[in-house]
């Protein structure tokens, strides 16, 4: 019997620990497929964050480091400077990347560190049970914004790709989502370009994946995707925010 679909080699056989409807599994798979297609698993080093994907080190078959909350870009920098021929990626959530680790994020980006960053933006802290994230939408109800995010008190959400796109060191900043087959395909293409940029020594690439968190949004998986389309995508438009090498035929905005 012909095998038509199988687990990417760059994923271990460990069963994902993620909730039903959580896009981490899809994004893990896209990263792993990319690693397989580029033939780089043997020299790739991944960095897992603090957040729901903290145990990503069990799921990716390449060498892995688990970083302190927010410090993944600094850890990645240390690894990449020590081993420039290795492929180094971080996998971070919104609290990790855009709150506690914003300084590390901005400075790794402006240095043009030749790393790949996969950024999961689901507008909430998942692992700790649904607190306000730096990307929580105005009015969005979370455990720590029980009356909805009041921008007068809690400020406005951060649009990471837009912010980083102003930095000269950034090779690629692109926002994608994985709510449909079409979008999954686009996300795959973007992630692959982000890794290819590193292989070609082009500097910092970040792919922001607008994601759902059905559990902490208090919705079913399908309701969560509708909420994502109706609320997240208008605030976080998909597209390419910076592409320093457009001649490579990257995804169009």
């Amino acid at each position: 019997m012909a095998v038509v679909f199988e687990r990417p080699h760059a994923l271990t056989d460990k069963v994902f620990s993620y909730c039903p409807g959580c896009p981490h599994g899809i994004v893990h798979r896209l990263v792993a497929e990319t690693i397989d297609e580029l033939g780089i698993e043997d020299r790739t080093i991944g960095i897992s964050p603090v957040g729901c994907s903290v145990t990503a080190y069990d799921f990716f078959a390449c060498d892995m480091v688990e970083a302190a909350h927010g410090r993944a870009p600094a850890v990645a920098t240390g690894i990449k400077r020590a081993r420039p021929d290795n492929i180094v990626f971080t996998y971070q959530g919104d609290g990790d990347l855009a709150a506690i680790g914003m300084a590390e994020t901005v400075h790794a980006a402006t240095r043009g560190e030749n790393i790949t960053v996969i950024f999961i933006n689901n507008a909430i802290y998942g692992m700790t049970g649904g607190q306000m994230a730096p990307t929580t939408l105005p009015g969005q109800i979370t455990q720590t914004t029980p009356y909805g995010r009041d921008v007068k008190a809690a400020g406005y959400p951060i649009r990471v790709c837009e912010l980083l796109s102003t930095l000269d060191g950034v090779a690629l900043a692109q926002r994608v989502t994985v709510d449909s087959v079409k979008h999954v395909r686009e996300a795959k293409k973007a992630i692959k370009r982000a890794f290819e940029n590193q292989v070609n020594g082009r500097g910092y690439s970040i792919i922001e994946v607008v994601s759902a968190c059905p559990t902490n949004w208090g919705l079913t998986p399908s309701e969560a995707l509708c909420w994502l389309r109706d609320n997240m995508l208008p605030y976080y438009p998909l597209g390419v925010y910076k592409d320093a090498y457009p001649e490579e035929g990257g995804a169009k905005k």
Binding site: R43, I45, D63, A67, A74, A76, R83
Partner: protein
């Protein structure tokens, strides 16, 4: 024998680190370690190494963590307020069993404190350099030559026991100039690092550098195994220098800059007929308990002299466990005790005041 050169402590330490095969330096500017980073910035590009000025001490220690995880010799240097910021990363490095070198050129505290020499970070270095159960190897040089020699020792012990190692300096030692002999190139003792993340190369299962154990029994087992290594280090790595201790009735205990002052005070006391001696801890962790206990067989009293309000004195007391009275004399905030002040304290003890 290599020739002697006159060097500033901070610069000699930097050169020694490069000689020891450390080609990855990550740091954030702070006084009084400035010359160390500046030396690295000048030297590293010429040897194909990395000097990276990070955005903060939080970032620099995590860059060190990354480079150490990747299996290379890596280091950072900072001073007291910066070390406080690094404690998060140091805890993670201890939890990941990663060797690396951290230099603390101590200055006065707490808070922004001052920029003059101090030894007020002793508790932080030896008791709680971050959250959780762990220890660092902590080496305390007292001369510029020792700064050079201890860089090698710090990397070697760190790698042997898989612990981060600290070179515990201060603004006085960092800034002063003394003649030093630098090591000959090529004399580096390294170890295999099969645990490092280097890319599995298709030859082994993936390596994971991690400090997370969600199962409490696994975490306890891991910490216990780590403490067995600590116990081994305590048994075999205690180092100190003894000066006129053999027949001493009053034994001073002092490390680093304050030990230099105590040596003068002990010499003068001897000239005045007082049987004083000095134990100078070289490893402040592991603390030289054995030498202190041995000295208690003939000494009548101990005096811990520090540039702090009294921190190491606790370890002297723990080592003695009440066997002998233990006194403390210190100056703090960047003030340096004078030999005359220390001599005065020795006399007070001698006279039973």
């Amino acid at each position: 024998m290599a020739e002697k050169v006159l060097m500033k402590g901070n610069e000699a330490l930097a050169e020694a680190a490069i000689c020891a095969g450390c080609h990855h330096f990550f740091g954030y500017p702070i006084t009084p370690q400035t010359e160390l980073a500046a030396y690295m910035a000048k030297k590293m590009p010429k040897i194909g190494g990395t000097y990276l000025q990070a955005e903060s001490e939080l970032a620099s220690i995590n860059m060190v963590l990354g480079a150490a995880a990747a299996g290379v010799r890596a280091m950072t240097s900072t001073s007291s307020p910066g070390l406080s910021l690094m404690t998060e990363g140091i805890s993670y490095m201890a939890g990941c069993d990663l060797p690396a070198l951290i230099v603390n050129v101590q200055r006065g505290g707490p808070g922004l404190g001052g920029i003059q020499p101090s030894q007020a970070d002793y508790y932080q270095a030896t008791k709680a350099t971050g959250h959780g159960d762990f220890q660092l190897i902590v080496l305390a040089p007292s001369t510029v030559q020792e700064m050079v020699d201890m860089v090698f020792l710090a990397f070697e012990l760190g790698e042997k026991y898989r612990m981060p190692a600290m070179l515990f300096s201060d603004g006085l030692l960092g800034q002063m100039m003394e003649p030093v002999v630098l090591p000959e190139p090529g004399d580096i003792k390294t170890v295999e690092k099969p645990w490092a993340v280097t890319g599995h190369g298709g030859k082994r299962k993936h390596n994971i550098v991690n400090s997370l154990y969600l199962e409490p029994n696994l975490l306890e087992d891991t910490v216990r195994a780590r403490y067995e290594r600590y116990a081994e280090a305590q048994r075999t790595e205690q180092r100190c220098e003894e000066f006129m201790v053999d027949d001493a009735e009053i034994v001073l205990v002092a490390y680093g800059a304050s030990s230099r002052i105590c040596r003068s005070a002990v010499t003068t006391a001897r000239q005045q007929g007082i049987k004083a001696g000095l134990i100078r801890p070289i490893t402040v962790w592991p603390f030289p308990n054995d030498a202190i206990q041995k000295a208690a067989s003939h000494a009548k009293a101990f005096l811990s002299v520090e540039m702090s309000m009294g921190q190491m004195v606790d370890d002297v007391r723990l080592a003695l466990n009440g066997a002998r009275p233990t006194y403390f004399y210190g100056r703090t905030g960047g003030m340096i005790p004078s030999p005359a002040e220390v001599l005065e304290e020795i006399k007070k003890i001698q006279e039973g005041k």
